[in-house]
Symmetry: C2
C-alpha cells in the first residue's frame, strides 16, 4: 500500500488502512507529512471527547457503554486509548481492552491503543496526528481515553472538544485539592460506580470543589453525572450532557477557539521537531547537544545558544 | 540601575539587584538576553534541590527547616517558591510565606516567590531563568519549592539536581498509584508529620511502591526519610541523604547529564519563544494564529503550516 492508496483507503474508512496510518504515527514515519497533507481537507468534522480519571474508576467500562449507546443511535465511533507511559521507566500498558471486544464485529466502531514511548514530543505530538487520521476516516465521534497520571490527564483537555473527568466513590484522590488542575479542565464530571457506598458524598464533595472554580459569566458549568457504567445506568444522561456541551461549544464560538488553539500547538510541535531534526548531525551528538553542554558549563548563555539554533536552522533551510 | 550595573550587583549578591532581576524574569523583559549573557560565566555552581508534594504536607515548614540547618553549617541558601497558577483561572497563591520570615534578617538567605501567569511558556520558561540569577548570585544551595499540582510537580524534576517528594500520613493521595509519575521523579522521599498516626503505614506503602519502579543496575535508590519539620526532627537525616544524592550525581556523571538536558530545554524554550515573537504581526493576530485557523478548518495540514513557520522565521532572520 503506497501513501496515496493509504490516504485513499483511510478516507473510505478501511480499518486496515486506518490501523496502518496510526502505526505510522506511532513510529513517527517520514511519510506522515504526505499522509497528513492528503487527509487535511477531510478533517474538522469529528466530535472529539476525552475521558480521563485515576486507575480503577472505570474508564474502559464507561467508554464501552458510551460506544454502545452511540452505536444505538447510528453514530460511528472511534476509540483511541492513549497510553501515557512514563518517560522514565517502561511504564504499564493501559490494560484491559478485553471489555471493548463486544464491539469487535461492528464496522461503525474502530478501537485502537496507542503508545508513543521514546518519541520526540511524545503523546502531545502523536495524539493529534492519530485524531486527524480518525477524523478524516469519517468517524462522527472519537473517544480519547487516557489514564489520569500527571500531565497526561491535563493534556487530554488540549486534544478534546469535550473533556470528561471520571471518579468513583472511595477513591478520594480523584477529587482532592491536589488535583485542582483537573477541576478546571473538566467539561463534564462522572461519578461512576454510583451504586457503591459513599457515592453521594463524592458527588457533594465534587460539587463543592466545582463551586470554588472562578468562571467568567456565561461560561459552561460542568455538570456531574452519576453512572453505573457496568450496568449501563446513567449513560443516557451522560450522553445528553455531552450533547449539551457540544451545542454550547458551537453556539458560544468555543469550538472554533479550542480547535484553533489545538492546531497552533500541532504546528508548533511539528516546527520544534523539524528544528531538532535539522540540527542533528551524523556524529551521534546533535548541534543542540553541544550547545546545551556549553550552556551547562557556563561557556555561553541560553539566548546566544538559541540564536545559534535559529541561525543553523536558517542555513539548513 | 542599568543592565550592566544590575548584572554586576547580582554577581556580588546584592539582594535588591537579585530581586530586580527576578522581576524582569517574571515580566519577560527584553533585557533578559543581555542579563543572562552577563551572568552565564558565573553559573553552574549552585546545588539545586526541588521540593514538591500535595498541599498540606508541610513543604514550607520543611523548606524553612532545611534553610535553618544549611545556615547552621554556613551554607548560603536561596529559596524560590514557584507558583504553578492554573492557566485556566486566576489560581491560588502558594500561600503562607510567613513561616519563612524567621530567616529575614540573614544575608546568607534569599527568599522569593515567583508566578508567571500569562507568560508564553509559563514557568517552564521562567524557572530556569530565575535559577540562573540565583546561581550566578553565588548561593551555594537553591531550594525550589512547588505545590504538587499536575504538571508542575513533574516539571520540578527537570529544573532540579535533586528532587524531594514530600507526603504526610492521612493524605493517601500523595502515595497513590495515580501518582506513578511522581514515584519516578523523586530522588528522596520525605514522610513529614511523622509523629502522626499512620506514619508507619505511609512509609511502608511508599516503600512498596518504590520497589515496583524499574531501575537500571547501579541507579540511585530513593531513600525515605521520616521528619517532623515543625520540630526540626529528621531534618539532619534529610540533609544527609541530600548530600549523599549530590555525591552520587557527581560520581555517576548524572549531574552533567541532568544539567545538559536542562540547558537543552532552556535553549529550545527560548528558540520557540523567539519563533513565536518573530511570527507576530501588528494586527493583533499573529501569522501563527492564521495558520492555526487554516489547519483547524482543513484548508492546510500542520506540516505545511510548520514549513510556512520555518520559512517565515528564515525570512525574518
Amino acid at each position: 500500500m503506497d501513501v496515496r492508496e493509504l490516504v485513499d483507503r483511510t478516507l473510505h474508512g478501511d480499518p486496515r488502512a486506518i490501523a496502518r496510518a496510526i502505526s505510522l504515527v506511532e513510529n513517527a514515519s517520514p511519510a506522515l507529512r504526505e499522509i497528513m497533507s492528503g487527509l487535511a481537507p477531510h478533517t474538522g468534522r469529528a466530535r472529539i471527547i476525552g475521558l480521563t480519571g485515576a486507575p480503577g474508576v472505570g474508564k474502559s467500562t464507561s467508554t464501552s457503554a458510551l460506544v454502545a449507546r452511540l452505536r444505538g443511535r447510528g453514530t460511528s465511533v472511534a476509540v483511541l486509548a492513549v497510553d501515557p507511559s512514563s518517560p522514565f521507566t517502561g511504564g504499564a500498558l493501559l490494560g484491559d481492552r478485553v471489555r471493548m471486544q463486544e464491539h469487535a464485529g461492528d464496522n461503525g466502531v474502530f478501537i485502537r491503543s496507542m503508545a508513543s514511548r521514546g518519541h520526540l514530543g511524545g503523546l502531545s505530538w502523536a495524539t493529534p496526528h492519530a485524531l486527524r487520521v480518525l477524523d478524516a476516516a469519517g468517524f462522527e465521534v472519537i473517544l480519547v481515553e487516557t489514564v489520569g497520571v500527571g500531565q497526561a490527564e491535563v493534556d487530554i483537555a488540549r486534544h478534546a472538544d469535550t473533556t470528561v473527568v471520571l471518579s468513583a466513590p472511595g477513591m478520594g484522590d480523584s477529587v482532592q485539592a491536589a488535583k485542582a488542575g483537573v477541576l478546571e479542565i473538566a467539561d463534564v464530571f462522572v461519578v461512576n460506580k454510583a451504586d457503591r457506598e459513599g457515592a453521594h458524598a463524592t458527588v457533594r464533595e465534587l460539587r463543592q470543589m466545582i463551586a470554588h472554580v472562578d468562571r467568567p459569566a456565561g461560561a459552561w458549568k460542568p455538570p456531574i453525572v452519576s453512572t453505573v457504567a457496568a450496568k449501563g445506568e446513567g449513560v443516557a444522561e451522560l450522553l445528553g450532557r455531552l450533547d449539551e456541551h457540544a451545542a454550547h461549544l458551537r453556539s458560544s464560538g468555543g469550538l472554533e477557539v479550542r480547535r484553533t488553539a489545538r492546531a497552533r500547538e500541532e504546528i508548533e510541535a511539528i516546527t520544534v521537531r523539524a528544528l531538532r531534526e535539522r540540527l542533528g548531525d551524523v556524529h551521534g551528538h546533535s548541534a543542540l547537544d553541544k550547545l546545551a553542554d556549553a550552556v551547562a558549563r557556563g561557556h555561553t548563555d541560553p539566548y546566544s545558544a538559541a540564536e545559534a539554533v535559529v541561525a543553523a536552522l536558517t542555513e539548513a533551510g
